[in-house]
């Protein structure tokens, strides 16, 4: 069993108030450990994205407690949360969210710049990350010049900038064809094990499951299943 990196205790999130109040998460308690891939499954509206936002320090829950790397989030302000995200969390988005005016390596370099990596080392480190994801030869391309899979690899390289210990991926395969999507998930799986970071993937895609070490099931904002995956492709 790996060391718990993220701990959620009785987390609840409610949108709106009064008669229109909607409980997006109810009493979620779980731990996420380094070195494993956690797959978050559930139908639309089950609260997967909200849970990902809570895990990524983007949303403070109305109830319960979140502790990331030993730091409880409930007392932190917006800037402190941003600093915590910067230090610990890498995001991979469904639609890549690359900066369209920046080249592939510059997209990665911006994340390094945020982490205050010295300017003279940003280029080399960005290239190193892109090489690791097989994108070295596309480093000078703009996002518009890349395929969906290539964009997602650049996005993963950006998420890895500064070596975060938690990578949160929101539907990383949704905009990709089957083969490309599998390649992207395989990459995340390799990273979790090679870099010893925790990877949480939100997905509808059943092809992701074989790459998961653990599968969580959400329904109506409640955790309905939490099981270890057997025989994953690690």
């Amino acid at each position: 069993m790996s060391t718990p990196l993220l701990r959620l205790e009785g987390v609840g999130v409610t949108y709106g108030s009064g008669a229109t109040a909607l409980a997006a998460l109810v009493g979620i308690s779980l731990e996420i450990s380094a070195g494993e891939v956690t797959l978050l499954l559930g139908p639309s509206g089950s609260g997967k994205t909200t849970l990902l936002q809570v895990m990524g320090c983007l949303l403070r829950p109305g109830q319960g407690r979140v502790v990331l790397d030993g730091r409880p989030l409930e007392t932190l302000g917006a800037e402190a949360l941003a600093a915590l995200r910067l230090a610990h969390v890498g995001f991979v988005f469904q639609h890549y969210n690359l900066f369209p005016t920046l080249r592939a390596w510059e997209n990665v370099a911006v994340a390094l710049d945020l982490k205050q990596v010295p300017r003279n080392r940003q280029n080399a480190q960005a290239m190193h990350l892109l090489d690791k994801l097989g994108m070295g030869d596309r480093a000078s391309h703009f996002p518009a010049e890349l395929s969906g899979g290539q964009k997602q690899r650049v996005a993963i390289a950006r998420a890895l900038a500064g070596s975060p210990n938690l990578i949160l991926a929101d539907e990383p395969t949704a905009a990709l064809d089957g083969k490309t999507g599998q390649g992207v998930v395989a990459t995340l799986h390799d990273l979790a094990h090679r870099e010893n970071c925790a990877v949480v993937i939100v997905s509808h895609d059943p092809r992701v499951e074989p790459f998961a070490d653990r599968v969580l099931h959400l329904e109506d904002g409640r955790l309905t299943d939490d099981r270890r995956a057997a025989g994953n492709q690690a």
Binding site: F93, A109, G136
Partner: protein, 385 residues
């Protein structure tokens, strides 16, 4: 691995700011034209103000007198009464006074060779004194004014006065006058061109008595206290005004630019240029920011502090300011070059360029505030929408 051609001199917020602007070239060009136009408007209006100010006090500024003695109640150098010459001797008796020169300045009527009249300012000087001489002389010699009916005028007003070359003759107050030289760039705010002549000749044209003059120009002995001498002169001479040269120059500027409203109008136009610039920069930066909100939300989501986002906006404003300022200043200097041949001077000294630069920076940073206010409210969870 670092491939060839993938390095860039810009990184981080500078890179984002530059690419945000340059990616949409049409909008960037509109921004630059807007900023440039504002700089042009401010530069020309403030340059006119400086030009007018220098014109109103040109005679005083170019004099070598420490103090000016003027008829009591004089508000500007161009319009004054008369002083008796005995005042000169009274002034010479005051301790600290080295020399006292006479200067005549009165309006006259200039009859053009081909008919028609113009109002002129007759400037009577003492040739043996260095207190005030025509400057920027481009044709003829000051010494030629010794001749009985000799006058020097400025090239800028030659057409207006109907003369073209040395030797042309006209009538001033129904007496003959002959052109012996030309200056260049000596403008008058009253639009009555300066006509230089000897003090002796000047006495004839406005029918002054031989013992009268308009101003007495005082030079002090080395080490004399100007303030003390000024007080002594006022006590000794009685009903006259005694000005330090710089004070009299400022008084002339104040009179023409403030009391006539000309300065206020120019300052108001310059302010309008500033407002136009703020609106243009604010609008285009805001439009660029709104277009890129998802990117700013992404930056915020991945951990960028608010200050990082603000730096991107401020750098966009700074880039717009720098390029717009360059464009605008270039246009201002084109106007300066064109007006150097006209009756109206646009003067842009280096200090005014610095003022324009400061105003441009203020304009662009103020314009950026609207965008910054928008980014303060950005929701990083919107990246999952």
């Amino acid at each position: 691995m670092t491939g060839p051609g993938i390095r860039t001199p810009l990184l981080g917020t500078s890179l984002l700011a530059w690419r945000n602007l340059s990616h949409d070239r049409a909008r960037f060009i509109v921004t630059l034209i807007g900023v440039g136009f504002s700089v042009l408007l401010m530069g020309v209006e403030l340059g006119l103000l400086v030009g007018f100010a220098r014109t109103t006090s040109g005679l005083v500024d170019h004099s070598r007198a420490d103090l000016w003695i003027a008829p009591a109640g004089t508000t500007n150098v161009d319009i004054a009464g008369r002083l008796d010459e005995r005042r000169r001797f009274q002034a010479l008796a005051v301790p600290g006074v080295a020399t006292v020169g006479k200067l005549m300045l009165q309006f006259g009527f200039w009859k053009k060779p081909d008919g028609g009249n113009e109002s002129v300012s007759l400037v009577g000087i003492e040739l043996d004194s260095d207190k005030l001489q025509p400057w920027n002389l481009v044709e003829g010699r000051v010494a030629d004014l010794q001749q009985q009916d000799a006058v020097i005028i400025d090239r800028l007003y030659a057409d207006k006065l109907g003369v073209h070359a040395i030797g042309d003759t006209v009538e001033i107050n129904s007496r003959r006058a002959r052109i012996v030289g030309f200056t260049e760039g000596l403008r008058t705010f009253t639009q009555s061109p300066y006509v230089w002549m000897t003090h002796r000749n000047a006495l004839v044209y406005p029918n002054y008595r031989p013992d009268q003059t308009t101003y007495l120009l005082v030079s002090l002995k080395p080490g004399a206290d100007a303030g003390q001498v000024r007080r002594a002169l006022r006590e000794r001479l009685g009903r006259v005004d005694v000005w330090h040269r710089a004070d009299f120059a400022r008084q002339a500027q104040k009179y023409w630019l403030i009391t006539t409203g000309a300065g206020s109008a120019l300052l108001l136009s310059a302010l309008l240029g500033l407002v136009v610039g703020i609106v243009i920069v604010g609008q285009t930066l805001y439009a660029t920011t709104v277009d890129r909100l998802p990117e700013y939300a992404t930056l915020r989501a991945i951990g960028a502090p608010a200050a990082y986002l603000n730096r991107v906006i401020l750098k966009q404003a700074a880039i717009s300011a720098a390029f717009g300022f360059g464009l605008g200043t270039l246009a201002v200097y084109v106007i300066v070059a064109i007006t150097s041949y006209g009756n109206v001077a646009v003067i842009v000294p280096f200090w005014l360029v610095l003022v324009l630069a400061a105003l441009t920076i203020f304009m662009c940073m103020f314009g950026a505030l609207i965008s910054i206010r928008r980014l303060v409210r950005i929701d990083p969870t919107s990246v999952f929408a």
